[in-house]
């Protein structure tokens, strides 16, 4: 299933690609709510799937996700069959219960986002950082996935 072109081609509309990817991936996993809604900004839509950026260079991929207010242990990251899955649970802090809640707009509970990776990556070299509520993953590509120069022989 070729979900994402390996190299960035001439600027296509990324939004329909995104909807297609999201729909296909969510059909594989039944428990994501965001397939019932159009894809829109992670903060504003009511199903709890973080907004994500995917960047590609010849050596590695960078994936960033907006996940405010979490502890590192609340985030579970896995890669399988070319799919990156970020999931976890955002818990409400218990000391808040002493105070009365007047208004609750932040999302709590389970979150889930699956991203199709445009290249195979070496999971053992993956690095993750969490700063300012943003999860940043650096995924080095497998050697065989890096673009290779092919020398042209001249006679």
């Amino acid at each position: 299933m070729n979900l994402v072109p390996r190299r960035l081609q001439a600027r296509r509309n990324p939004f329909t690609d995104l909807l297609d990817i999201q729909r296909e991936v969510n059909d594989l996993f039944d428990f994501s709510l965001s397939r019932w809604l159009g894809r829109d900004e992670g903060l504003l839509d009511r199903s709890w799937a973080p907004s994500v950026d995917v960047l590609d260079s010849k050596d590695s991929l960078i994936v960033k996700a907006d996940l405010p207010g979490l502890k590192k242990d609340d985030i579970e990251i896995s890669i399988q069959d070319g799919m990156l899955v970020v999931r976890g649970e955002k818990k409400q802090e218990t000391d808040k219960k002493e105070k009365g809640s007047i208004r609750s707009e932040r999302f709590y509970g389970s979150f889930y986002r699956a991203v199709s990776l445009p290249s195979p990556v070496d999971e053992s070299k993956a690095r993750a950082a969490y700063k300012n509520g943003v999860l940043e993953l650096t995924l080095p590509k497998r050697e065989e996935a890096k673009p290779k120069q092919i020398k042209v022989d001249t006679d």
Binding site: V4, L8, P14, D17, L18, E41, G42, L43, L44, S51, V52, D53, V54, L55, D56, S57, K58, D59, L61, I62, K64, D66, L67, P68, G69, L70, K71, K96, E98, K99, G100, S101, I102, R103, S104, E105, R106, F107, P118, Y130, N132, G133, V134
Partner: protein, 130 residues
Amino acid sequence: MTTVNRKLVSAEPGTLQAHLERDLVSPPVDVFESEREIVLEAEMPGVPKDGTRLSIEGDELTLSGEAAGTDVPSGYAAVYTERRPREYRRVFVLGAEVQRDKIRARYEDGVLQVTLPKAERAQPRRIPVE
């Protein structure tokens, strides 16, 4: 305490251009109240600590923060980006019971937490009966 959510037009000159380039986003906010204080927690992922701003003008408390979105480092191409540059902004109207000079704020992991202590006289006082 009333919550006022302002629309996109900014009265400050020179910032309209900035607003056209960035999305103006209302951050989700949780509000908690106890006898002593009111606590606001606003989610603003992607804002660096020095990008958060808290200001009071008259009765209005404005929380804001600028998030750059993803700048693409050299050598990289964007496959797709959902995290656009944005400005988070939310305005609250403070009641008279808030001690404005004692307001404090903390920013951690993309969440701006603002504590608004209430004035002494607003707290219930027990009067002992002799």
